[in-house]
């Protein structure tokens, strides 16, 4: 279980995260929503240990998070890969880095599940579509079977149809593998459809947190309502009469 215990992060004089707490069980999905500058990316960095928390701490089953080898899926699929390496080499990086035994069956299984044609693995990142590249990004994240996967705006580079398709693939993989997923997104529609819980982050604080249904049906805070109404206005959510 991921435990984020009352963490604050300061950068310079400004505080980018302020007393953020939550926990995330294996197999569950937490979506963190909020505007740019709210601290969503800093939260990911703090969980991965890339920035120091000035207070509080993050742990996985009581041990440092890095011990559980969490994986990260980034926003820009192509930029997430070394442009000079074949996708196969990039995708196998976690296996090499962690000195694991390569299991061809697992790679084949993931390719099937994520709808990646295996011959595309021989190409370089700029020779596949963005949607394919993002599915390979997910494949790389899952290859070493991590118990925790962080998704940083995983869909925002994709078009609407591909977004929904990819979201479905992620959810299916999670059902099969049972990892805990933390998804940072600005799209409340995605959060509502695929997360168990939603946390709204604003100026470094969690403004509102609750189950996805409750959040969409009846936000408890003004900010929650603002986010929901924006999603209505942009057609990301349908208003239920």
């Amino acid at each position: 279980m991921l435990t984020v215990d009352n963490i604050s992060v300061r950068r310079g004089v400004s505080t980018t995260l302020e007393e953020v707490s939550f926990s995330l069980e294996p197999g569950r999905t937490l979506a963190v929503v909020g505007e740019s500058g709210a601290g969503k990316s800093t939260l990911i960095s703090a969980i991965l240990g890339l920035v120091r928390c000035s207070a509080g701490g993050v742990s996985w089953n009581g041990a440092p998070v890095s011990r559980c080898r969490p994986a990260l899926v980034m926003q820009e699929p192509r930029a997430a890969f070394n442009p000079r390496l074949s996708l196969r080499r990039s995708v196998m990086e976690p296996v090499v880095a962690q000195n694991l035994v390569f299991e061809p069956e697992r790679l084949a299984m993931l390719c099937r599940a994520l709808e990646v044609q295996p011959d595309l693995l021989e190409r370089r990142p700029d020779q596949v579509s963005i949607g394919q590249a993002q599915r390979m990004g997910i494949l790389r994240a899952l290859i070493a079977a991590p118990p925790l996967v962080l998704f940083d705006e995983p869909l925002s580079a994709l078009d609407a149809v591909t977004q929904k398709h990819t979201a479905r693939l992620i959810a299916d993989m999670q059902a099969q593998e049972g990892f805990a997923a933390l998804i940072v997104t600005h799209d409340l529609g995605y959060a509502a459809a695929f997360a168990d819980d939603i946390a709204a982050l604003r100026e470094g604080r969690i403004e509102e947190m609750g189950t996805a249904q409750a959040f969409i049906a009846a936000p408890q805070t003004d900010y929650g309502r603002t986010l929901r109404d924006a999603a209505f206005a942009l057609g990301a959510l349908e208003r239920v009469a």
Partner: protein
Amino acid sequence: MTLHVHGLSAERSGQIILHPTNVDFKPGERVGLVGASGSGKSTLGHELVDALRAQGASVAHVPQSPDEALDPLRSMAFHWREAERALGLAPDDARRTLLFKALQIERGDLRRRPWGWSRGMQQRFVIAMALIGTPDLLVMDEPTSALDPVVAAGTMDLLDDYLKDRQTALLLITHDLGLAARRVARLIVMDAGRIVEDAPTEAFLASPKTRVAKSLCAHRNWLELPC
């Protein structure tokens, strides 16, 4: 006056990216142009603007991100004056105040350069600039995807209010049918450089005809996905 465009087409490095296309817009009409990435939506938007301008119609184009519309070395005032000059208009404070009020950027400091403004305000400035000449058609290319949802929704609402009783037609280019369906009365669907469907929004959503349109409709709503 209804705008007609005939025989638009485009190719890039020998490949046809826009097959010969005809489109028309009624005054004040709200039209959505949807399709997957690479279907030729943006190309159609660009060609449309160039062709209509060549016909002498007044058209304006708002690109996806303010970075594609503003010169970081020039002040906002410079941009505004330049846009007026390009239309052959004399500076008019009343017009500017009206547009700035409508898009709620009257508090922006015009002496600053674009990066002195928030992105949401930059985008609204670009929209205001596009409306200077009260164009017959306003083309907006993915107006929401570079902005936060709250800011994007606010921008779209302000634009809707401004256009409500005016003759300016709106073409909203987006990959997101959910957004388009919420905002426009008529939908055009593109696939592989061709317009494959063109129908009133209600009728379209009720019975999409082509495979692409069906897929777009099926993936319209996050909470009602197929499978």
